[in-house]
Amino acid sequence: MSISSLQAFLRTEALPHFWCAGCGNGIVLGALVRAFVRLELDPTRVVVVTGIGCWGKADDYLLTHAFHVTHGRALAFATGIKVVRPDLTVLALMGDGDGATIGGNHLIHAARRNVDVTAVVVNNQNYGMTGGQYSATTPAESCTSTSPYGNPEDALDICALADAAGANYVARSTVYHVRQLENFICEAITKKGFSLVEAASICPTHYGRNNRLGTPTEMLRRLREQAVPLARGEVGGDRIVIGRLVEREREDFNARYEAVRRRAVEGGRLG
């Protein structure tokens, strides 16, 4: 893959990026841009919607159409875009706080509605941008800037939520498993209907420091150890199950809507 092909999507003049040294966000951005190139997408026909948080800054580095919106609502904006322009590739880039905590309701309903949008959720297990407070995916007992004596809440499994709500495609990888992450993003974009890729990531600046997890390299090594391929069937503890978790063939929202429209125009039910 040539540098120039990446440059069709990457706003190189905006680099160096704003993320901390050792942050996982740059790895996900790289995987995303390589996925765009591999799928031979046309940047004028891609819309990236980003929410608020460190990962929500990703659009600053992209040369596609982009919309930087409110905290938690990216999927709702993306829904409006995709419904009227089904021919465009629409993605929502969100963190765990953005996409699964404040935006949890929109995630449920985007998956249920099966609108053909791809969510790329970077899960760094805390609110990085605001200083490392606990989010809905912070593991129980771990320390953050608002759980200095341990988090009293259990963590949410984002992928299980998307599955339960009916997403057509759900996969999880990590920022250690870069090639797999890139492959999953490609598959998710190609898949019709709602798709979600969770990238288990690291926030050395806050989560890592608050829980004494060491250098970014040590955190990546830990991620590799925690990650268990789905086929192995191991769950629980601090394991992160990676792999293609859900593949369904439900008709997407636009297809359903056009079927309803045909009925309306032909004078069917409720005419």
């Binding site: 940047p43 004028t44 919106v69 829904t79 009227v84």
Partner: protein, 376 residues
Amino acid sequence: MRGKVRFMQGNEAIAEGAFYAGARFFAGYPITPSSEIAEIASRRLLKLGGYYLQMEDELASLAAVIGASLCGVKAFTATSGPGFSLMQENLGVAIMAEVPCVVINVQRSGPSTGLATRPAQADVMQARWGTHGDHAIIALSPASVQECFELTVRAFNFAERFRTPVILLADEIVGHMRERVVLPEAGELEVLERKRPRVPPEEYLPYQPDVDGVPPMSDFGSPYVFHATGSMHDERGLPNNSPENARRVIRRLHDKIYNHRDELTLTRGFAMEEAEYLVIAFGATARAARKALRLARERGVRVGLLQLQTLWPFPEEVVEGAAGRVRGLIVAEMNLGQIVHEVRRVVGWDRPVVSVAKSDGEGITPDEILAGLEAF
């Protein structure tokens, strides 16, 4: 006006006005007393080649509307108090990202769930200041079914013209009443479209304003690739947090509306020529005021009415001019006094201004307005 004479409800006329203006996308969440608008949209938009989306809440509803509008599709939503409160968040996005859209608020009595089926005009200040931060807003208020139709068309025109959200502040009385309406033929009322880029795609900057302060707008999916954002930004739509840039952007977003107040000010005058006293009212209350005018005349008192169709930006010059010719003013509104403060600000605190304010879920009667005269 030529066109079809129909007998319809205010909410129905609002929906028809939206379709006439070219709206082809509605996203909303059911709420009394605005649900008829959603129901009509769900039926009609399918056949008009448009889209109806029922979202999970009002946050998502306005978000979807803004997303659709960024693709070049005129879009709107309809709600009432509790939903309007939730929409304040993304109303700010539409202001900052400069995305045309129309938000219908058929006002009911609050606060909170309040009196869900009863009228009020108590969201006037929320419409002005509900979303956080310095901003300008356009809000219109219809007093009849005919005005429901016509002001909805105007709302879309203002939204497109100024690349901004516009609020239609209806009330439960006007929304649910039925009366005669003349639906104009296509082409009879002006329908405006947003300005389009006139430069080649590689030169296009989504936030570079023309002299009128309004930047031309491209569509997502067109060769004019652009960044839209609710964060502080430069003309490319990329982050720029410098004080100079912030000052320029916030000032421009304000001025593009306030420098065009003459275009935006819509009012109607009734019996104002020889009036000794002037009633200022809007929405359903303006109807009671018209009756009050007649009753006063029978009693030999000359009272005029200034009906405000535009609430924001507040029609300062018109109010000031009309107030200068009378001995006293009555401001009637279904709340504990909101627009009256604007009137007092404009005419000066030394002028006699009586507030007829009512907030109990009932409309203001002509007699209650007349009783205000006794204060003079």
